[in-house]
């Protein structure tokens, strides 16, 4: 089943183009990472999927039009927009009461179970909790909702390593069951490399990479090239070259593995390496970008 389908999704803020004809399809049971630089259109794309912003083009989430049917859609979709959107005046018990009151698919017993694993007390107010605890609370609420799609927009921003690790661990162990779908955007790509099933790169409002993690692992190779092999390695047309401690590290797309092995140590690149390779040295004015669509500009408008 297709959970999200977008065709020619466009969104502009004045002269700034945040989404420039995005086409994407997310199938049921996938964990998709939507990765892109600031201002690439990530948040705008998620806002459109969640019915928080109007858009042009075609977009269906679980068969519904998000903008027209946000409240019905939210029975099947959960999202953590970013840390610290839980109202600071609210008590933990009130948050549970309220969600239980308005959400037909909230399982209070389950939520209490998740909360019991943390140090959060029922009588505490959100403002008294640390940032990490607020995220734990939000996650406890969200994981207790029997939703089909979970959208996470920078869910671990500003959290320390332990909380971040714990966040994705609970998500995989206590929530993900292969029938649920998760879409996550984050800058902390190293945290999600082993979590994702699919990877999408978005830049200047367009999807520039859309592949499964299996494809990613079989397609991209990074070689720590021995100096004497550098000329030979460059002949294989690497998509990116960087230098670390005097050695050249070349990234190849689809090159044959046995040939690469002769050039130096071969490994699968990290998502961050590929990200830098594909987006790091883009010229300022490529097709798809429009004047005024500078990095940061549309992000600010999207928020």
């Amino acid at each position: 089943m297709t959970v999200i389908e977008a065709r020619g999704l466009r969104k502009t803020f004045g002269t700034t183009i945040a989404l420039d004809g995005v086409n994407l399809r997310v199938e049921e049971g996938r964990i998709v990472g939507l990765i892109g630089p600031n201002g690439a259109g990530k948040s705008t794309a998620l806002s459109a999927m969640l019915g928080l912003t109007p858009y042009q083009g075609e977009l269906k989430v679980l068969g519904r039009d998000p903008w027209a049917e946000r409240d019905q859609l939210m029975r099947d979709v959960c999202f953590i927009a970013d840390v610290a959107v839980l109202p600071r005046w609210m008590r933990v018990s009130q948050a549970f009461d309220y969600v239980a009151g308005v959400h037909p698919r909230f399982d209070r017993v389950k939520a209490e179970g998740f909360l019991a694993k943390t140090d959060i007390r029922h009588a505490s107010k959100v403002r008294e909790l640390s940032k990490g605890m607020v995220t734990q609370l939000h996650l406890a609420l969200v994981m207790a909702i029997d939703a089909k799609l979970l959208v996470l927009d920078e869910p671990t921003l500003g959290l320390d390593l332990l909380y971040r690790k714990q966040f994705y661990d609970s998500l995989l162990n206590d929530y993900y069951d292969r029938s649920r779908t998760i879409v996550v955007t984050t800058h902390q790509v190293e945290d999600v490399q082993n979590v994702l099933t699919d990877l999408m790169f978005i830049n200047r409002g367009r999807i520039v990479l859309d592949c499964s993690m299996e494809e990613f692992e079989s397609r991209y190779r990074e070689v720590n090239v021995r100096p004497e092999q550098l000329a030979a390695a460059r002949a294989f047309k690497p998509i990116h070259e960087r230098h670390v401690l005097g050695r050249s590290i070349l990234l190849f797309d689809g090159a044959e593995q046995h040939r690469l092995a002769a050039l130096g140590a071969v490994r699968t690149p990290s998502i961050a390496d590929l990200f830098v390779a594909l987006l790091g040295n883009e010229p300022a004015d490529k097709p798809g970008s429009k004047p005024g669509n500078q990095a940061g500009g549309s992000q600010g408008a999207a928020k």
Binding site: S47, L50, G51, L52, T53, P54, R70, D71, Q72, L73, M74, R75, C78, F79, I80, A81, D82, A84, V85, L86, P87, R88, W89, M90, R91, S93, Q94, F96, D97, Y98, V99, A100, G101, V102, H103, P104, R105, F106, D107, R108, V109, K110, H138, D146, K303
Partner: protein, 315 residues
Amino acid sequence: MTTQPNAAPESPLGSQAIAQTVLSPTRPLYWSIRRELWENRSIYIAPLAAAAVYLFGFLISLFWVPRGMRGMMGAHGPMPPIVVLAMPYAHAAMLLMLTTSLVGIFYSLDALHGERRDRSILFWKSLPVSDLTTVLSKASIPLVVLPLLAFAVTVALQLIILLLSGAALLVNRAGAATPWAPPLFEMQLVSLYGMIVLVLWHAPIYCWFLLVSGWARRATLVWAVLPPMAIAVVEFIAFHTSNFGSLLHDRLFGFTGAAFDLTDKNGVPIDAHFIPLTQLAPGRFLSNPSLWLGLVFAALCFVAAVRLRRYQGPI
């Protein structure tokens, strides 16, 4: 605190069972109103505090009752005794009306602004609650909850005043033959009528404030108050007339004239501390075009606030 356990087994069969659970459409509204009361405790604390302050003052005044009452009757000359008797009760009702009106004004100015300011709108919008339900719950605070609270607290306060006055009289062994209390039940019926007409009359103000709170990025009070004042000033400078100004004045203070007959059959003005039931003018109030124009304006502001919330995010 919730009465619905919402428990569900973790099996896939269980989740199908949940999928079929349908909440009644009023449940989100009920919980949204409770949510407003959790967040804005001044809604009930302010009227209770006002009542407590009033009671404190009244308790002190009790030590001077006999002298005070005689003094008042003497000082006010021709004032009917019933008005003097009604005064502490009427003042209590007026204080609570004033308090809840103020709470309602400041509540409305923040209602759709606070959730954008603290970014919690993203949390509220992540739940299956429509914008209509949210705005309805927020509008119901000044339009329903606060007037009901004001009335309930007024009645309770007036009963306490009645008991205390009775006790004070017994202690002072004053003559039991002289009347010592106004017709309280009649006064309370008039208060109830007063609260209803007040809220109908002021509904456009609250709804306008609600709309501004959903639209302005900051300084909601300024955006709510300055544009109408600017219109009045421009009209006065340009045309030397003050139609808009008097419209505003009438909207703020005109409800007594619109809903009560404040002169008796001989044309003598009636003291507002004690308005008999016979002086209520619901027919005149309901046939006042100004009331209905105000309600149409209120409805337009409400619809605009609902539409606007769809587009709004954190600021």
